[in-house]
Symmetry: C2
Subunit: 387 residues, 2 copies
């Protein structure tokens, strides 16, 4: 390698082989991922802006303006006027940014080891954050509905509490913590509250009245300081398109690092060089679909989830874990463990994953999954369980 050059023909022949080894979303066989096939119109925009670098925004003022418009639109979606934030590489970078801000705010007033209070259901990115940022984790157990047990939060608050984290759309079960109540607690104790809505941020605002009711999960709750919301999950944008919004501009500024040799003199993201193509893709999607378009996308996903829920409930030897709140659904069987089920379904060509809290098979019904895929899946599942 490296000493021998390949022809263009050889290269694309090889790339095709690699591609054939990969799964594709289009097959409808991926039921384990919160990512999906990027929308074609987003891809066109992505290609147009592939060479842009928002780490050096003075060179790309047009792309930079698009980023401001996207942040404004995401703020609008989450009930925040004058949002500050960025489109970043994904939920992990967004969560790191929020926790770094909370840590720097804490360090302005305290000497001790900063503590974060977060639910057992928090995404694994928080494990990375806790060790990288040298935080101490105070884990809130889940209640009988698999949500952060709100009654346990206040007991964990100490003078070293730097932040509380709650989840709007947990990775494992797609459940929404009681953010209204958690916000009240954070607000009354003057503690930074971050909402990880990496998944739910592009679903909950588009739910119809029947599913959303009077749920408040965003900046409408006055205790919420920052939110993660990822266009590259239910927003249909290509990776890398994560989003982070801060209520207070001065919070984002806590991340500012001087960048003397770039076209602007400071930078407030973790990652430095950062493609603007994902921003162009997100700008395009938000304007192309708008509220109405995303409502339809979410409606389809929720309807398919409810269809699957109904069918699973009727299936012999299947217990559905909980009523889905978003487009995720989990189940167990009384005759096979979740791990064995996962493996046997794998052999049928299905990719499902296993949640840990509780230990159940987990399906994410992203827009690439259609009714015909679910019907085939249910047939195979029935064969695996009862065949």
């Amino acid at each position: 390698m490296l000493d021998k050059r390949m022809t263009k023909e050889d290269i694309f022949e090889n790339l095709k082989k690699f591609q054939d080894m990969d799964m594709s979303y289009e097959s409808g066989r991926i039921l384990s991922s919160m990512c999906t096939k990027p929308d074609p119109i987003a891809m066109e925009a992505y290609k147009m802006f592939i060479e842009t670098n928002l780490g050096d925004p003075g060179l790309f003022p047009g792309t930079s303006l698009m980023e401001s418009e996207v942040i404004e639109m995401l703020g609008h979606l989450l009930h925040l006027e004058n949002a500050s934030g960025h489109l970043v590489t994904g939920g992990t970078e967004a969560n790191i940014m929020a926790m770094a801000v909370a840590k720097y705010l804490f360090q302005e007033k305290h000497e001790g080891v900063p503590e974060i209070i977060l639910p057992e259901s928090a995404h694994f990115s928080f494990k990375k954050i806790i060790s990288m940022l040298s935080l101490e984790a105070k884990v809130v157990p889940l209640d009988e509905n698999y949500k952060m047990d709100v009654s346990k939060i206040e007991d964990l608050i100490t003078e070293n509490t730097m932040a509380i984290v709650a989840i709007a759309g947990t990775t494992e079960l797609g459940l929404i913590d009681d953010i209204e109540k958690i916000s009240e607690i954070a607000y009354s104790h003057d503690i930074y509250l971050h909402i990880d809505a990496a998944f739910g941020g592009f679903v909950i605002p588009f739910l119809d009245d029947e599913h959303k009711g009077d749920l408040n999960f965003d900046f409408k709750c006055k205790g919420v300081s920052s939110m993660t919301i990822d266009p590259h999950k239910m927003g249909l944008a290509p990776v890398p398109a994560g989003g982070i919004l801060f209520r207070h501009a001065e919070h984002l500024e806590k991340l500012a690092v001087k960048t003397p040799y770039l076209s602007k003199n400071k930078q407030t993201t973790i990652v430095g060089t950062r493609t603007g193509a994902a921003t162009a893709a997100t700008w395009t999607l938000l304007n192309y679909y708008g509220m109405e378009g995303y409502r339809k996308i979410v409606k389809n996903a929720i309807e398919l989830t409810e269809y699957t829920y109904k069918k699973l409930n009727l299936m012999k030897n299947v217990t559905v874990t909980c009523k889905p709140e978003l487009n995720l659904i989990s189940f167990t069987s009384n005759n096979k463990s979740a791990d064995i089920l996962k493996q046997e379904l794998y052999d049928y060509g299905w990719r499902v994953s296993v949640a840990q809290r509780p230990h159940v098979v987990r399906l994410v019904l992203m827009p690439h999954v259609k009714k015909e895929h679910i019907d085939r899946f249910l047939t195979d599942l029935n064969e695996v369980l009862n065949g």
Copy 2:
């Protein structure tokens, strides 16, 4: 916004307007950036793999295999057999990963605040890292050649030293620290040594004998523990394509976080969801260009730098800062400050930047910059200075 949908036509009309506000590399006017126009063949590969996610590699075993091959090739390039590492979002994530590993290794044996020894010329990503990871910085001043003053390193070593960082291709001047000597120091004190070759990693290995001589800057130096090398700089790959290599597989494992609901049960990058498209692009470039192709790209850039150096040296009222080692060149004028020069050149349509150590105008001669651009630039510069 969001309540009103745009037609496809409106969208592309708007995108075109945003694009027209941006600079393009192709104009040859960007002399301030370490990024460049991605190679067309890399773009084709990128598009093919746009939906892949290496954060969930079990779904994309073909793309994952390409990543292993890229890491092997980059290891080969930097004299490391059996390299461990990843293609990540860029130099910042790569540097974070190295420093997180060094911190975790340190914490296994020590209680104190971990200290890093790094040169004044270190990239601003280390500022982010120092505050995020709660490290203490011990800054080594530069010597009269603007390189890390090796004679000052040992004085800064304490029992809390967790790592030394040195640079192969500084962001400001493109200079290479004396890594052979620094490696000896690190090795003899058993201290983790990270080399930031984000820029130089895709230049130095391709220099001809006249320019490289017997320089050793990579894993050949036995004290080197990890290296950053970015395909999205001189590798001609599209963003996000950074690279991190570790000498010891068990070092990368220090970053492992369990990922129960993904297709593999652990993850060793900072970012979670991670496009495989940049990996496909890098795989393609390495196989398409090989050593021979990159040698030619680097030769062209170095020749243009030497041409510019010669011309600047002949220009009235210009002092070149130092003999270029890579394709960066810096200068000052005795009749205008660097900041004023930058601004006046801006008005002529040129984007240059200003380095801080020393305070000079800085040019990066990336492959999108051609001789005709430099000739036009020198004419304009002469007019600004002597016109």
